[in-house]
Symmetry: C2
Subunit: 239 residues, 2 copies
């Protein structure tokens, strides 16, 4: 990794609660500094880790935006997730001690690298930390079950609608609008994530715009009618 990095002081970090449990005693907080967490800056387009890299650390996003994905032997790429501030990356590496996929920054970003071995040690000493880590993994499992539901049983338009509403919900929780968003990823990346082709994504945006449900200008999307975005017919649709 050739990126700028500095050692962080978590006990004084303003975003600490996104990485770690909030209910630590002050005396326990200083323990976080022993984790040797490093802050790493990643420029847009660069890899945070690649498929097959040795697994040494988990990452939490401080700022910016990432995609994770994996590739088949045939060269096809599948996007498995998009991560924004406060979200964790790298959990897939624990089992084999190698990353089983790659992570790429979709805009200039900053992450905290948490050395896994030290995190494991600390979570043996602090039950709250252990619980936090277990929940992060469990949350990821639940999220992926929901993705299986989406990919396995929804139509393309429902998938896109669900995706947009999920994105805007996560952005809203971070203080952004609950109806407007700027997509950090291409149509092809959205399509890969949602199991459809980029042309289908584009056509759906057009259709939803024509129906007055969305306003789309390039990557800027405004959700005009969240109700109708998910099949709620509201009243008679005037064709």
């Amino acid at each position: 990794m050739t990126n700028a990095s500095t050692t962080a002081t978590c006990s004084q970090c303003t975003q600490r609660d996104v990485c770690f449990p909030v209910d630590l005693e002050p005396s326990q907080r200083v323990r976080l500094d022993q984790l040797s967490i490093r802050r790493i800056r990643i420029k847009r387009g660069e890899h945070l880790f690649r498929d097959g890299d040795a697994f040494k650390a988990l990452f939490t996003v401080r700022s910016g935006f990432f995609k994770t994905g994996l590739a088949t032997e045939t060269g096809h790429e599948q996007v498995t997730g998009f991560q924004m501030a406060g979200e964790m990356l790298g959990l897939d590496g624990i089992v084999t001690e190698r990353h089983m996929g790659s992570a790429v920054a979709l805009e200039d970003s900053e992450v905290c690298a948490i050395p896994y071995t030290r995190l494991a040690e600390l979570s043996r000493e602090l039950p709250a930390m252990q619980q936090h880590l277990h929940k992060a993994m469990s949350r990821e499992i639940v999220r992926e079950h929901q993705m299986m539901l989406l990919l396995g049983s929804m139509r393309a338009q429902e998938r896109l609608a669900t995706f947009l509403l999920n994105l805007v919900k996560r952005l809203h929780a971070r203080g952004f609008s609950e109806s407007e968003l700027v997509l950090r990823m291409t149509r092809a990346e959205i399509g890969s994530y949602l199991g459809m082709k980029l042309e289908t994504v584009s056509r759906l945006f057009s259709r939803l715009t024509q129906e007055g449900i969305l306003t789309v200008h390039q990557r800027h999307v405004c959700i005009a009618d969240a109700g109708r975005l998910l099949g709620h017919e509201s009243q008679a649709a005037i064709h």
Copy 2:
């Protein structure tokens, strides 16, 4: 839960290594008995847990076969996995302390229920146990990434082929044939898991049979040509 159950003595269990790390010292093995693990028998068709149930324990399958799934508000059911002996269920419950899906036995089965709180305690004391638990969760995350790849980028026939080969591989690792298997689930359940309709599953079985790649009699499947099952054209396919 109204099923027969007994308290297990893990230190003497012949299947211990499927639940727990093999490299425990004898002095540490007896600690397993303090977990108050219970063996539970579940009859075919019964629930091990249901969506929304309080989460108290993780489960490992001792014998039998399970499906896990979740349901949408619209009543649609999505199968999220099939589990056989040695595999773990319930990890989705950690994050909210409620199960986020259900688990149903597809044949008469027996599981070990591992009280989560005690397991967490023990894994704070035994690093090998902690590592084992983390790996189980990470493995589940990796598995689901691969399911996203399958659902998002493969055609129906590739999905079914991948599924059958995965099943037979897991069965083979347990001492069964590497070319024959008995499906414990219906066509509808396979279809739900693989993101297709039961008619499509049935048609694919018929097509693969006609092509001499499979032999299918009800739920008994014999893989005649594993190479061709995954697009390997071998030589000229004689149509």
